[in-house]
Symmetry: C2
Subunit: 339 residues, 2 copies
DNA sequence: AATCGACTGACAACCGGTTGCCATCACGTG
DNA sequence: CACGTGATGGCAACCGGTTGTCAGTCGATT
């Protein structure tokens, strides 16, 4: 595509094209959106004029009359959480490929902000992708009833969702720690309103029971590096020799605090993070963590949403997609200290 | 605000309210947007009905008739670059406070994508914030002529801009390295299309001349951690004992590569990054870098843009804002190795 | 009491498209 | 040659608001 300069004059409308070609505006509309409905010669004249006038359809007007906005809202609790970077990139790529615009909203980890954003977006978006919703099951179901929606990391019956299966990986993480000789493990938990957190803890306590090992729950902690200091102190005090941490942000914060306190990682304490975010590979020591295909999850969510929007093309749309997760072992885990 | 459940029925319009109150739609419109224009009793009846019907104005329709979209486009070259996280958060916060919606677009470091995004946004946004534009000066000026716009880190006459003054900090960085005894310094450069890169190099070569020290230019390299490997190898080969690097992403990548190669940082080679992004404080070793008030830059850009949009309120709107930058010394710089 | 103007509400046009419906026309068929 | 048919283009209503204009009401002024 040639680099069209942005002209300063008023953008062209279908009326301008119509006047230039001596046809009715409705014919222009058809020539551009339902080409078969118009004689080929007229159509070509119109298309040429459209190019000449550098015509771009007004998306507002289009949305108003057709009811389709061509936009999809993407809600995330915290834009600055690197976890969501990859998610956002995934949705952005896939939406763009399908000709949709992404409306990104930061819900600030608040159910109220989230609810009002959804309300707002009912008019301005065709569908929604909701990351780690803080809404109640009922509210999410209601939202789903009002408009096409795909949840990410939120498991509610009848709400289409992409689930990153970190609970399954917690078993792997625990086995990894057991194989290193750890006998007392702590789970450093995230926000209470996070369903991922609950699911992960459930899976972990079940797994620990099966394996006959003690796992204590610490927290909750906010999913930020700054929370890592408090988490680290609590972990040390708990007497555990290894921690499975809600996410890498907290884990990285713990790493820093532990170093300050002279607690060696992994010598004195092993740390397992979750998500394998940007930074997990170059922090000190590099973090053993549960790797998630986050960007792919974003792409899958978009695909599922578009299938809802356009059932014809979507075909056999899945309403639930579970993304596998695996443990990436780096240098923050090692044999338990000998007592 | 109460948590309004999202209802499944068709959203209410001013016509619904009008019917309920037995007035004309135009009166409803005025009651809500020009309250003074309507008798207080009618107004209150209408407002009550609006609340009861859970009315939300249709932003598309509003945009179409009023010409104001209530949205601002924010263009960044790469969403997954942590530098832009902070910028995005800054713009998001400030825009939201002013009642605007943020339309985030990733231009993929491409001038073509950027130009077409701007073209697209002319209709759907009231103004634009363009981060690190890849456009030519002329194209950017033309865009500015077509719609309100604030550039970030792009210095073009007559284009309002927020400039993060990293060039000034390069002098500090160089002095820091000189004081540590370094005599051969390399500048690891970023993309050729980046104006920040050019400005930084200019400032650096000027400063080096004044101080009578040799600075060689390496690169260009893409602003990604993956480029760090190539950059590190080139830097080692150049014989320099210290590098000032285009940004922290490349610098962090270099850190990793240098460790792999057994080159000690800062023992054998000192590294200075730029931007102080997420991760610069916890990489290994923690990075000496030029800290920028990035989130603040985003907020300032929004303020400047809103002043353009609403000259009445904006008052004495500045058309250029320079954000100071300072050197944050961490552990990636130390005395030059004795030969 | 007549005049004036402020206040208030309704009507209708408009923003830029989409779409149902109808009129026209050319063509093929019986 | 009359008729049916499909292709093609125009008209007008509509999406949900905004806004200019006008008419009616009412109190105040002279």
């Amino acid at each position: 595509m040639a680099l069209q300069p942005v002209s300063a004059s008023r953008p062209a409308t279908i009326h301008d094209i119509a006047a230039l070609c001596g046809v009715a505006p409705s014919t222009v509309s058809r020539a551009l959106s339902t080409p078969d409905r118009v004689n080929i010669r007229t159509r070509e004249r119109i298309q040429a004029a459209a190019v000449e006038l550098n015509y771009t359809p007004n998306s507002q007007a289009k949305a108003l009359s057709s009811g389709k906005t061509g936009a999809v809202g993407v809600l995330v609790p915290d834009i600055t959480n690197p976890f969501y970077f990859d998610l956002i990139r995934g949705t952005q790529l896939q939406l763009k490929a399908a000709g949709y615009t992404q409306l990104l909203v930061d819900t600030e980890e608040s159910d109220e902000v989230e609810a009002s954003a959804i309300q707002q977006l009912r008019k301005s978006a065709d569908g929604l992708i909701v990351g780690a919703s803080r809404l109640t099951d009922e509210a999410l179901l209601a939202a789903r009833a009002a408009m096409p929606l795909v949840a990410i990391n939120r498991d509610v019956p009848d709400v289409p969702a992409v689930i990153i299966d970190t609970p399954a990986a917690t078993g792997q993480a625990l086995d990894h720690l057991i194989s290193l000789g750890h006998t007392k493990v702590a789970y450093v938990s995230g926000p209470v309103s996070s369903q991922s957190n609950a699911r992960r803890w459930d899976a972990l306590s079940l797994a620990s029971e099966e394996r006959g090992i003690e796992v204590v729950k610490l927290g909750p902690f906010a999913p930020k590096t700054q929370s890592g200091a408090a988490a680290a102190d609590t972990a040390v005090h708990s007497g555990a020799t290894a921690c499975i941490v809600f996410n890498d942000l907290i884990a990285i914060g713990m790493l820093q605090r532990l170093r300050e306190r002279g607690v060696r990682v992994p010598g004195d304490m092993s740390i397992v993070g979750c998500d394998d975010i940007f930074g997990a590979d170059f922090c000190n020591p590099p973090l053993t963590t549960m790797s998630s295909p986050i960007e792919q999850a974003g792409r899958v969510a978009v695909t599922m949403l578009l299938a809802q929007l356009d059932p014809l093309r979507g075909g056999g749309a899945r309403s639930r997609s579970v993304m596998p997760t695996h443990l990436t072992v780096r240098a923050s885990t090692a044999a338990a200290p000998s007592t």
